[in-house]
C-alpha cells in the first residue's frame, strides 16, 4: 500500500504516507462443526475405540451409523446436506459416545497408546490436550489446572484419564474447527 501511494504521488515523503491508518483485518470465518463421519473417525483416532454396541440379535452395530438419520446425516433421498448444528441430539449422542469409548479405552490393554501416553500426569495431560484439541500448552499454563484437578478426583489413573477423555471429547474444541 505504501509503495502504491508513493507511486501515485512521487513527491510525498515516507512520513506523510505512514500517517494513513491501517484498515482493520476482516474477521475470519466462524468455526464449523465436524460432520458425523469426521466425529466418529476422530473419536476412534484419539481413543482407539469406536462407538458400538450389540443389538438384540447379538451383532455389533456402529451407533454413529445407526443414529445417522437423527444426527442429521443426509440420506440423499430427502436430504442432501448434513445438518451441522451442534444441537441437543448431537450433544446427547456425543456425550454417550465419549463415555462409551473413553471407558473402553481406559479398560483396554492399549491404554498406553491412547490415554496414558506419559508417566507424569501433567505431561500426559499436555499430550492429551495436544492430541484431542491440537493445543500445545506449556507446562506452566494455568488452563491445564482444571483438567488436572478433574483427573485427580478419580481413584485410579485409568479412571481419571477416562474422565478427562470425556471432557475433552465433549468440549467444543474437539468437534469444531
Amino acid at each position: 500500500m505504501i509503495w502504491l501511494l508513493l507511486a501515485c504521488n512521487p513527491g510525498a515523503s515516507i512520513e506523510q504516507v505512514a500517517t494513513v491508518e491501517a484498515t482493520p483485518l476482516a474477521y475470519g470465518r466462524d468455526k464449523k462443526r465436524m460432520n458425523i463421519d469426521q466425529v466418529a473417525a476422530s473419536i476412534e483416532r484419539v481413543t482407539g475405540q469406536s462407538w458400538q454396541e450389540l443389538d438384540e440379535s447379538g451383532e455389533q452395530v456402529q451407533l454413529f451409523e445407526t443414529l445417522s438419520g437423527s444426527l442429521g446425516k443426509p440420506d440423499y433421498l430427502a436430504a442432501t446436506e448434513e445438518d451441522l448444528a451442534p444441537g441437543l441430539l448431537f450433544q446427547k449422542f456425543l456425550d454417550d459416545a465419549a463415555r462409551s469409548t473413553c471407558i473402553a479405552a481406559s479398560e483396554s490393554s492399549d491404554v498406553g497408546d491412547f490415554l496414558m501416553l506419559m508417566e507424569e500426569p501433567q505431561d500426559n495431560l499436555r499430550a492429551l490436550v495436544l492430541r484431542f484439541h491440537g493445543h500445545d500448552w506449556p507446562a506452566e499454563d494455568a488452563r491445564l489446572d482444571p483438567w488436572l484437578n478433574l483427573y485427580g478426583l478419580s481413584e485410579t489413573p485409568e479412571r481419571g484419564w477416562a474422565l478427562v477423555c470425556v471432557g475433552l471429547i465433549t468440549h467444543p474444541d474437539f468437534y469444531t474447527y
Binding site: D30, K31, K32, R33, L67, G69, S70, G72, A78, A79, D83, A85, P86, G87, L88, L89, F90, Q91, K92, F93, D95, D96, R99, S100, I103, P146, W147, N149, L150, L153, S154, R159, A162, L163, V166, G167, T170, H171, P172, Y175, T176
Partner: protein
C-alpha cells in the same frame, strides 16, 4: 420450562447456516395475549398422495372411462385390487371419500377436508417445504419456519420439547431457539436421546466434569464463536432434558405400553414406522413433553409406474389408519382433569406435498400434480365439513370463500399459508407472525 435459555436467541437459525433474524419477541406476545391452550400434530404423507383415491374422489359412474378425454379425470378405481371398493360414504351426509381412506372415514364427523388447493409446484422438496412453512421455497431452499415452529414459539414455552419432529424436516428462520424441533428418525432414537447417560462415574466426578465444561463455556474463545457458544447452550439443554427421565414414556416395548401397542398396531421391531411415531406424538402431547409434533404418517407414495395400483393404495390406507388410531386415542384421553378430551385441545393436520395426476400415465401410474387437499381434525376444527372444491375438468384448484369455505369466484385459491394463518388465529394470535401475507381460512373452525 424450555431447555434452551442461556443463549437461546443465538441458536435460532443455526440449522439454516446462521442466517436467522433474531426472535420477534414471542415470549412477550405469549404473555400479553389471550392464548388458547392448543396442541398440534402434523401428519405428513410423504411422496404426493392420490386424492381421487382418498380425500377428493369422483364417482366412476359419472366420470366414466369413455369421458376421460373431456373430463381429464380417471378415477382409477378399476385398476385397484379387489380389496378396494368404490366410493366410501361416511356418517356425514354428502361427505364421501375414495376407496383408500382407511379408518379415517370413521372420524368424518370430526374432520374438515380442504379441497381444491394449489401447490404451484411439481417438485417434492418444494411442495413439502411449502406445506411445512407456508412459504414458497427459493429454489429448493426452504424459506420461513415450519408452522409447527411458529406455534411452538407462541405456545411451547412450558414444554421441555416444544417441538418434536419424527422423520419430518423442520425449519426456524426467526423464532426463538427453544421452538426449533428436536428431530429424530425413529421412536427408538427418541428413547435413546431421552435416556440418561451411563453412570460410570461418581456423582462427584460428574459434578466436576460439568463444572469444568461450564467454566469452559465462559471462555472468551468459546464466546467469540457463534457455533461454539450455541454448542455449550445445547450441551446444558441436553443434560437438562435427560435429567427429566422422559424416556420410559416412549418405550413402547415395555409391558406398560401393551394397550398403546394394540391401539396403534405397533411392531416393536420397527419403531421407526408410522404407528410408533403416531403413538409417540400422542404420548408427547399428553405427558406434557411437547406442544407440537410432526411425524411421517405414510411413505412410499411416489408411484409413477404400475406399482401405483398396489403400493399406493396400501400406503394410503396404512397412513389414514394410523391417523384414525391417533384420533381415537386422543378422543378417549381426558384433558387435564376437565370434561374435555385431548382431541378437543389438539389440532391434527394431515397433508402431502401435492396430489397426483388425474389421468394414468402410459406406465399405469400417476405423476405429480399441482393440486392438493388436506384434512384437519380436533381442537376447534369444525367436524363433518368439506371446504372448497376442485374442478370437474382436470381437478383444477378453484377459489374458495375463506370465511364460509364455500366455492366462490370472488374467493381465493387456498394455499397452506391460509390454513396456518387460521391455526394461529385459532390459537389467539391475530398478528401475521410468519409473514404469510394472506388472510386466514377461518371456515376451518367452528
Amino acid at each position: 420450562m424450555p431447555l434452551l435459555s442461556r443463549r437461546s436467541a443465538l441458536t435460532a437459525g443455526l440449522a439454516l447456516g446462521g442466517t436467522a433474524v433474531l426472535g420477534p419477541g414471542m415470549a412477550r406476545l405469549a404473555q400479553a395475549a389471550e392464548l388458547e391452550d392448543r396442541y398440534y400434530i402434523f401428519c405428513y404423507f410423504n411422496g404426493g398422495w392420490d386424492l381421487l383415491l382418498s380425500l377428493d374422489p369422483r364417482d366412476p359412474a359419472e366420470f366414466r372411462d369413455d369421458l376421460k378425454k373431456s373430463t381429464l379425470i380417471d378415477t382409477g378405481f378399476s385398476a385397484l385390487g379387489s380389496e378396494y371398493g368404490g366410493l366410501v360414504s361416511s356418517s356425514v351426509p354428502g361427505m364421501v371419500f375414495g376407496p383408500c381412506v382407511g379408518g379415517l372415514v370413521d372420524h368424518a364427523d370430526k374432520l374438515t377436508v380442504v379441497r381444491g388447493m394449489s401447490m404451484d409446484t411439481l417438485t417434492h422438496e418444494v411442495g413439502r417445504r411449502r406445506f411445512l412453512t407456508g412459504r414458497p421455497p427459493a429454489g429448493l431452499q426452504a424459506k420461513g419456519s415450519n408452522a409447527s415452529t411458529v406455534l411452538a414459539s407462541v405456545l411451547g414455552q412450558g414444554q421441555p420439547i416444544p417441538q418434536l419432529s419424527i422423520r419430518v424436516e423442520s425449519y426456524n428462520d426467526r423464532f426463538e431457539g427453544f421452538a426449533s424441533a428436536i428431530r429424530v428418525n425413529s421412536v427408538q432414537d427418541l428413547v435413546r436421546a431421552l435416556r440418561p447417560s451411563s453412570d460410570d462415574f461418581s456423582a462427584a466426578e460428574e459434578r466436576a466434569l460439568q463444572a469444568l465444561l461450564d467454566q469452559a463455556a465462559d471462555c472468551p474463545s468459546i464466546e467469540d464463536s457463534r457455533i461454539r457458544d450455541a454448542a455449550m447452550d445445547y450441551q446444558s439443554g441436553s443434560k437438562e432434558l435427560v435429567s427429566l427421565g422422559l424416556d420410559a414414556a416412549f418405550d413402547f416395548t415395555s409391558a406398560q405400553s401393551a394397550e398403546l401397542r394394540d391401539l396403534y398396531s405397533i411392531n416393536v421391531n420397527d419403531l421407526g414406522a408410522a404407528p410408533a411415531q403416531a403413538a409417540a406424538a400422542a404420548t408427547a402431547l399428553t405427558t406434557g413433553v411437547a406442544r407440537t409434533v410432526c411425524f411421517e404418517a405414510a411413505s412410499g407414495l411416489d408411484t409413477h409406474g404400475p406399482e401405483w395400483a398396489s403400493a399406493h393404495p396400501a400406503a394410503l390406507v396404512k397412513g389414514f389408519d394410523v391417523v384414525a388410531s391417533l384420533i381415537a386415542d386422543l378422543s378417549t384421553r381426558q384433558y387435564k382433569g376437565t370434561s374435555e378430551t385431548w382431541l378437543d385441545r389438539t389440532t391434527i393436520v394431515g397433508f402431502s406435498e401435492f396430489g397426483r395426476s388425474t389421468l394414468l400415465n402410459s406406465s399405469g401410474g400417476r405423476d405429480h400434480f399441482l393440486h392438493n387437499a388436506c384434512f384437519l381434525a380436533g381442537g376447534g376444527v369444525k367436524g363433518g365439513q368439506v371446504i372448497g372444491r376442485s374442478s370437474d375438468i382436470g381437478m383444477a384448484p378453484t377459489p374458495t370463500d375463506l370465511a364460509s369455505g364455500l366455492p366462490s369466484e370472488s374467493g381465493e385459491v387456498v394455499y397452506p399459508e391460509h390454513i396456518f394463518r387460521a391455526l394461529l388465529q385459532g390459537a389467539g394470535v391475530e398478528e401475521d407472525l410468519a409473514d404469510y401475507g394472506v388472510d386466514p381460512l377461518m371456515a376451518i373452525f367452528e
